[in-house]
């Protein structure tokens, strides 16, 4: 069982709620995924649609609500958004995102660490989105992050786990849960992260923009489950040389002597 911030999760698939075609599809996909943690963003109210409210489509009894600080370009902006998120959600869960460059949306490590330190002091349960940097993961963990969220590849790219080598080190070293976030574009990517020993994955775009988001949510749930089961079962080690699967001893007849 996965525990983050004192909360226990049965599902190791976390879902982003962006880019769904409708609230109804989002709701159904959340249910099909079995997720118990969904992320949301904060934006200015669209005064043309004053009643448009995502909260009405989400069941907070079933899911932990994880507001993000997307749009923040530095620690100061992220901290301001964090306090707004806490006021809006009534809870201290926070996915910390500090992305100064809109082209890459890569996280700023210095500002992320600075904001993590301050938000932990202010009582937030901080899950920082970070580049797959093992040293930074340790620094964030020491600063009090409840989990670390290294990226597989940049947000929304569907490129999969391009940072496998670093993520393996992060998983090996971490004392807090490791949630692989961003870039997971296919169930196989999610399964790979879980086989590597990640504690959970966060998926958004790959599900929300799929031809059938509800079916895709189900596919991701199965992949995460399969990957986790494989990790727990213990994966065989890799070798550069062939290792026969069938016994090389015990021939049946002399005619089959070449089998010896």
């Amino acid at each position: 069982m996965l525990t983050i911030g004192g909360h226990t999760f049965n599902s190791r698939l976390f879902l982003g709620t962006g880019k769904f075609s409708s609230s109804a599809v989002m709701k159904e996909a959340i249910e099909a995924s079995g997720t118990e943690m969904v992320t949301v963003a904060l934006r200015r109210v669209d005064l043309e649609n004053p009643e448009d409210d995502i909260m009405s489509a989400l069941d907070r009894d079933k899911c932990v609500f994880l507001p993000n600080t997307s749009g923040a370009r530095n620690a100061e902006e992220a901290i301001r958004l964090a306090h707004l998120a806490r006021a809006a959600s009534g809870s201290s869960w926070l996915k910390l995102e500090v992305t100064p460059d809109p082209r890459t949306l890569l996280p700023d490590p210095v500002e992320t660490l600075k904001a993590t330190e301050e938000l932990v002091r202010a009582g937030f349960i901080v899950l920082p989105y970070m580049n797959a940097d093992p040293i930074l993961a340790l620094r964030l963990q020491d600063a009090g992050a409840a989990a670390v969220m290294p990226l597989g590849s940049p947000i929304g790219t569907n490129q999969g786990i391009l940072t496998a080598f670093q993520i393996e080190i992060i998983i090996d070293q971490a004392r807090v849960p490791v949630v692989v976030d961003a870039g997971i574009g296919a169930p196989s990517h999610a399964a790979l992260a879980m086989e590597m020993g990640a504690d959970a994955v966060l998926v958004n775009t790959a599900i929300s923009v799929a031809g059938d988001p509800v079916a895709m949510a189900r596919a991701f749930a199965q992949a995460v489950e399969a990957g986790r089961t494989a990790f727990v079962a213990g994966m065989g080690s890799r070798s550069k040389q062939a290792q026969a699967s069938s016994p090389l001893t015990g021939t049946l007849t002399t005619d089959l002597g070449f089998l010896a």
Binding site: G16, T17, G18, K19, F20, M26, T39, V40, A41, L42, R43, R44, V45, L47, P50, E51, D53, I54, M55, S56, P67, N68, S70, R80, H83, L84, A87, A88, S89, I155, G156, A182, L202, N204, T205, S208
Partner: protein
């Protein structure tokens, strides 16, 4: 006399003034509270966070917080995001 004060004028016995709402100018009457503005905008007060001059206003203060000329007000809510 400041420029802001010069922008005051009377209409229907109410002073009219301007605030900045979500980055855009918005004209309101000077007796207006946060609660009254939310009602006028048709925004359910339970679904938003109000930030006034970078300070978060608690919902139980909406009815007693009067808006002042040149206030910077942000109305924020959750949307879909990853």
């Amino acid at each position: 006399m400041t420029v802001n004060r010069l922008r005051f004028f009377f209409s229907n016995n109410h002073c009219i003034m301007q605030i900045h709402l979500n980055g855009s100018p918005k004209t309101i009457t000077n007796s207006m509270t946060v609660a009254m503005l939310l009602q006028e905008l048709g925004v359910p007060s339970t679904s938003v966070v109000v930030e006034l001059n970078k300070t978060i206003i608690q919902p139980d203060s909406y009815a007693t917080t009067s808006l002042q000329d040149n206030d910077q007000m942000e109305l924020i809510r959750f949307v879909g995001g990853g």
